[in-house]
């Protein structure tokens, strides 16, 4: 019996040693056939059990079962190991160079001005301002006269104007390309009177200016108008500070100083601390530490009246800001002409 037990142990050790040598599917199958197969070592050993004396059988049977289970487990493990090795080898052979460039996804892009306008609309939209559209070709009256700038008013010098000939010779009209989005104030007031108003008017404006690195003959503005029974200059400040902090970032200081626009009084210029130098003074802010961002003011009583609102009952504020300029400042763009160049090398940078 002792010998039998030693035979079993030797057999197990021998089988396991040979299993460890099996390095491919064929060797593994041969081992399985030889050891665990129907005519294999284990089957043979089991047959040997029956020839033992009855008293020895239970102990020998138990040992036999232990050995059999151990060999079967070893086989399963070996099989899994070989599978894993094979997979690893196969995967290794499929290695690619992950540093090669990806395939272009073919996605286009929006114009930087579209993106900037969206940002502006979003901020004012959350303060209750809705978009109002108005036309680009205007009459002299809407662009100037109704905004408190009669003919030959000195303030007209501030805006060099493209004039447009009437489309038919016998039509009596002073037409021009709007020099600012402000004519929309009159359109909006006349449409909405007597309701309170909170609108922004984004759009293209035109100036009779040479096209250079710094000036363009067309660009975008966003006008804002709030009219109601309790609108104050304090509201103007709060609204515009909120805008500046969200658009440029809360780290930049904002200041308001007196200015002049014929269609507002008091009139305001809003400056923010130079976003290039942080207010220390640089060539962009002309060493002042401040950047002019927008003009604003309380709607002039004459303009309110021209829009239909009684200035003794209603008050309002208005503001107008360029869109290209803040985009230029934010993105350090060195040539305003790029906006209308259609140059994809520029446009795709902001897509």
């Amino acid at each position: 019996m002792e010998k039998k037990a030693q035979d079993m142990a030797a057999m197990q050790a021998d089988a396991l040693a040979r299993l460890a040598e099996a390095q491919d599917d064929a060797a593994l199958a041969a081992w399985r056939n030889e050891i665990l197969g129907r005519k294999g070592v284990i089957s043979e050993a089991m047959r040997g059990l029956g020839q033992l004396p009855a008293v020895e059988r239970p102990a020998a049977g138990q040992r036999f079962n232990e050995v059999k289970t151990a060999l079967e487990t070893a086989y399963t493990e070996a099989e899994a190991r070989l599978k894993a090795q094979a997979l690893a080898a196969s995967l290794a052979s499929e290695t690619i160079d992950v540093t090669l460039p990806g395939r272009p996804a073919g996605v286009g892009g929006l114009h930087l001005i579209t993106r900037t306008l969206r940002e502006i609309r979003e901020i004012y939209g959350q303060m209750g301002f809705q978009v109002y559209r108005s036309r680009q070709i205007e009459t002299d009256d809407f662009n100037f006269g109704l905004l408190n700038m009669p003919k030959h008013h000195p303030a007209r010098d501030m805006q060099d104007t493209f004039y447009v000939l009437p489309p038919e010779a016998d039509l009596d009209a002073d037409l021009l390309l709007r020099t600012h989005t402000s004519p929309g104030q009159i359109h909006a007031m006349r449409e909405y009177y007597p309701e309170p108003i909170r609108v922004i008017l984004p759009g293209m404006v035109f100036r009779f200016e040479p096209v250079t690195v710094r000036s363009e003959m067309q660009f975008h503005q966003v006008e804002g108008l709030a009219v109601g029974r309790h609108i104050t200059m304090a509201d103007l400040k709060g609204t515009l500070i909120n805008f500046a902090h969200r658009f440029f970032g809360p780290q930049y200081g904002v200041r308001f100083r007196p200015s002049y626009f014929p269609f507002t009084e008091p009139s305001v210029e809003m400056d923010i601390e130079c976003i290039v130098c942080g207010g220390k003074g640089c060539s962009i802010c002309k060493r002042s530490g401040w950047l002019e961002i927008l003009g604003a003011g309380m709607v002039h009583p004459t303009v309110l009246r021209n829009g239909g609102y009684d200035p003794d009952v209603y008050s309002g504020f208005a503001f107008g800001m360029g869109v290209e300029r803040p985009a230029i400042l934010k993105h350090r763009i060195d040539d305003i002409r790029l906006f209308f160049s259609g140059d994809l090398r520029f446009l795709e940078q902001y897509a």
Binding site: V164, P167, T232, K237, P258, G342, L344
Partner: protein
């Protein structure tokens, strides 16, 4: 406006730092653009006011002298100089003297480079220091001779203290007439800093005969000239102005000419009233020896005169002239005449101080292209009260600087006396409009500081009704809101709180149009197109290239809106189409890249018959050219964009906007390839516009007209009516139930004549497929010998499905047969073998 601090200090104290002064002026409305510090680089321990002790000849050089200069040190210093304005024997001149080690600008170079003065031996004589020229001090480019200072210049004082100055450059918006002069600027600072202005003397010592006997003034057009005041001074001597006056003029950007002319400019800068000096003797001569009559009137048709710049000018009616009985002697407020101008021989002066209509002067100056300091001031508007004050101030200065006797009194024709302006304010409006709590007392105090005469008409608690008499220098103030602005700016905008509106929210309206327009942009960008923005102005010639064979005139329908003052000839009309702009963009980019896929959303400008204002319909243009896919290392597809790429994008766009497009062949549009273009319409709706491949003749015409090169690859273009798309777009999709029963999939290939459009086959399949036909898709088009010439095979994948049962083979076969029968009957189609 340039404001030298040394001049400003004549009228008001500056009791703060310069930066503080500039800041407070800026924050109260006078925006200080720049602070120029003259002489800031002059080292106070190295550059001094010096006095020439004596000038000796250089022993070894004819052109050099030895200058011994006392500059306050115990021992005078001797230097070698070649300055032509120092001669042997000179003594006593005041000069600018730099000792060894001083840094000055190199007078022999033009780049402003700096030179450090070193001891040197010049032709054997030791020189330690330098007498300086204006160029070496950075005052001007003059290096002809050294600068000679006024005789009263204090020897030994650092030059920076004596000649240095600080000049504020103040940006003047059109309303700031009040600050277009030094006294006005002083008045502003006085109000801000709580001081009184020290006004200059405006009395004149007039000891001559009454002026009234020496000249007469007739204002024929009082609508353009409300007042004309004249003084006369006799026996003056014309010579250069004293240094202090010349320097002040130079610092404010004017050129000193002679004492009399300089006084007119000086007083204009000081008080804001432009003045003009006539040679009185020439006026007398023109009047045939009689006392002259000054006539203020509009120009007569065809009238001309020679102005003092020597130009013979044609005058237009409505230009205001100063004339005498012999004709024009000046263009009012703009420029004097050559014949009566002051010359070196002049001894008698008639000085004009007048008030002209500001708009008329602006117009005349603009028409004649003669902007000047005077016309700019008149153009902003001046109060007529100022004429006599300024005339007396100037005449007295002429007497002090040029000698002579002033004729008694002022010839003063005041045809339209100015009305006193009173502005009323209820102080509660400070809260209502400014949103700021300010005691009524403070409101009154601010206005009084600005020289308003304030009267309190009524008091209800803190709500006072006040009446403010507007001072003459404030033509810009007439109403309550003008007063509010004064209160706000003097109190300081930074004292106004910042609040968010508490007023009633306006009725909220859907902004669907904007949202939909932005969705179009997003969809097209998502489809791989880059958005561009281009010029709204174009030329008829450029757009005519879209109609090859037709002239620009022939395609002027509707007429163009023409820009009256175009900046460039190729930007002279408002565009009718975005197509030509898209071609420009393609041509501009073709130099840099092969693959171009762009879109633009913008209005075009179309006049309506009988209407002045045009329509501005929004259009969408799409342009594609070059390889369909961007170049990549992994094998680049050589396939180029074709019609079906364009169509795929547009169909995707329409579908995502909740719309369905229909495509009909477009064979006669001059811009497009006749066999590769379509008119895009909305199903049951309006035409949206053409889409297709660019006609080769258009490419040639565009290249010839622009001198540019469009891409050689096919160009796909579409221009669609965006307003129509946005108006009909809907995001309200109705749910289609999802069926879980197994679908039956059938492939059906039919052969039809080449001329049969695919859409008709598809429509016939859909029409005959019944409810069970859920999907149908074209997956192949085949032409070849198997099916014969003039035929094509179209292969469709059909999907049949029912909601409530699994379809039997028999049901599917029967339905398929119905389709085949219909195709055979309507289109002569046969099943492909």
């Amino acid at each position: 406006m340039l404001v030298p601090l040394s001049w400003l200090k004549d009228y008001v104290d500056i009791n703060v730092s310069i930066d503080e002064l500039a800041h407070r002026l800026t924050m109260s409305g006078l925006a200080v653009e720049k602070i120029e510090r003259l002489g800031a680089e002059w080292e106070r321990d190295k550059i001094f006011v010096g006095r020439i002790v004596r000038i000796d000849q250089h022993p070894n050089a004819d052109r050099l002298v030895l200058a011994t200069v006392d500059y306050g040190a115990p021992e005078p210093q001797t230097v070698v100089t070649g300055a032509p304005n120092l001669k042997v024997g000179d003594t006593g001149q005041k000069v600018a003297f730099a000792v060894v080690g001083a840094r000055v600008i190199d007078g022999h170079k033009d780049d402003g480079s700096i030179l450090v003065i070193k001891p040197a031996k010049l032709r054997g004589v030791q020189s330690a220091g330098m007498v300086l020229s204006e160029k070496e001090l950075g005052l001007s480019d003059s290096h002809e001779g050294i600068i000679i200072l006024p005789p009263d210049a204090p020897v030994g004082v650092p030059l920076a203290d004596y000649l240095g100055d600080i000049v504020l450059d103040i940006e003047l918006t059109p309303n700031l007439t009040r600050a277009s002069n030094i006294v006005g600027t002083a008045r502003e600072w006085a109000a801000i800093s709580g001081q009184q202005v020290r006004y200059p003397n405006t009395e004149m010592v007039a000891e001559g005969e009454p002026a009234a006997g020496k000249a007469r003034v007739v204002i024929e057009d009082p609508d353009l000239c409300s007042r004309y005041s004249a003084t006369i001074i006799e026996g003056v001597t014309i010579h250069p102005s004293p240094q202090w006056m010349g320097r002040r003029l130079t610092l404010t950007g004017m050129r000193p000419i002679s004492n009399i002319v300089d006084v007119t400019n000086y007083v204009m800068l000081e008080l804001g009233q432009p003045l003009h000096a006539f040679d009185y003797d020439k006026l007398v001569a023109r009047a045939g020896g009689q006392p002259p009559t000054i006539i203020v009137r509009r120009a007569k048709p065809g009238e001309e005169m020679r102005t003092l710049d020597g130009v013979q000018r044609k005058l237009l009616p409505d230009m205001l002239l100063i004339c005498d009985t012999a004709g024009p002697i000046a263009i009012a407020g703009v420029m004097g005449g050559e014949e009566t101008e002051v010359s070196a021989e002049t001894t008698r002066i008639l000085l004009e101080a007048a008030n002209f209509n500001n708009l008329n002067i602006r117009r005349t100056a603009a028409l004649l292209k003669l902007p000047s300091e005077a016309s700019a001031r008149f153009g902003r508007g001046i109060h007529p009260a100022l004429t006599v004050t300024a005339a007396q101030r100037a005449t007295e200065l002429m007497r002090e600087l040029g000698g002579g006797t002033i004729a008694g009194g002022v010839v003063d024709e005041y045809s339209v006396p100015a009305e006193t302006v009173v502005a009323a304010l209820a102080t509660r409006d400070v809260q209502r409009i400014l949103g700021m709590d300010l005691p009524a007392e403070r409101v009154v105090e601010i206005l009084r500081a600005l020289e308003f005469e304030v009267e309190i008409a009524d008091q209800h608690g803190d709500d006072w009704r006040i009446r403010a008499v507007v001072p003459p220098h404030r033509l810009d103030v007439s109403h309550s809101y003008d007063l509010l602005e004064e209160v706000a700016r003097i109190e300081g905008y930074d004292r106004i709180p910042a609040t968010l509106m508490s007023d009633e929210l306006p009725p909220q309206r859907p902004s669907g149009d904007i949202d939909r327009e932005e969705r179009v942009r997003d969809l097209l960008a998502g489809a791989g197109l880059q958005e561009v923005m281009t010029y709204a102005m174009t030329s008829p010639e450029r757009e005519a290239t879209l109609h090859p064979g037709l002239s620009a005139e022939a395609v002027d329908e509707p007429p163009y809106l023409v820009v009256a003052n175009p900046i460039r000839p190729d930007r002279a009309v408002m565009r009718h189409t975005l197509l030509a702009s898209a071609l420009e963009t393609l041509a501009n980019n073709a130099r840099y890249r092969e693959r171009i896929a762009i879109f633009e959303v913008a209005p075009v400008y179309l006049p309506l018959p009988g209407e002045a204002l045009p329509q501005e319909p929004r259009r969408l243009v799409i342009a594609l050219a070059g390889p369909r896919q961007s170049a990549a290392w992994s094998g680049t597809s050589a396939e180029l964009f074709d019609f079906y790429d364009l169509k795929g994008i547009i169909d995707m766009l329409l579908r995502r906007m909740g719309l369905e497009g229909t495509w009909a062949p477009l064979t006669d549009h001059p811009t497009f390839h006749p066999g590769r273009a379509a008119q895009v319409c909305l199903a049951d709706g309006p035409a949206l516009g053409p889409a297709g491949e660019l006609h080769p003749l258009v490419r040639d015409a565009f290249n010839a007209q622009s001198g540019a090169d469009l891409p050689a690859a096919p160009i796909l273009l579409a221009e669609l009516d965006l307003d129509a798309i946005l108006a009909r777009a809907t995001m309200d999709v109705i749910h289609t139930p999802i069926l879980n029963r197994p679908p039956a999939k059938i492939d059906l290939a039919v052969v039809v004549d080449e001329a049969v459009p695919q859409a008709r086959v598809l429509d016939a399949i859909k029409a005959s497929g019944g409810e069970l036909l859920r999907e149908v898709g074209l997956f192949d088009v085949y032409r070849g010998p198997q099916i014969g010439a003039g035929k094509k095979s179209l292969a469709y994948a059909l999907v049949f499905q029912a909601a409530d049962r699994t379809l039997t083979d028999a049901e599917v076969a029967a339905q398929t047969q119905r389709i085949v029968d219909r195709l055979a009957r309507d289109l002569g189609a046969t099943l492909r073998a």
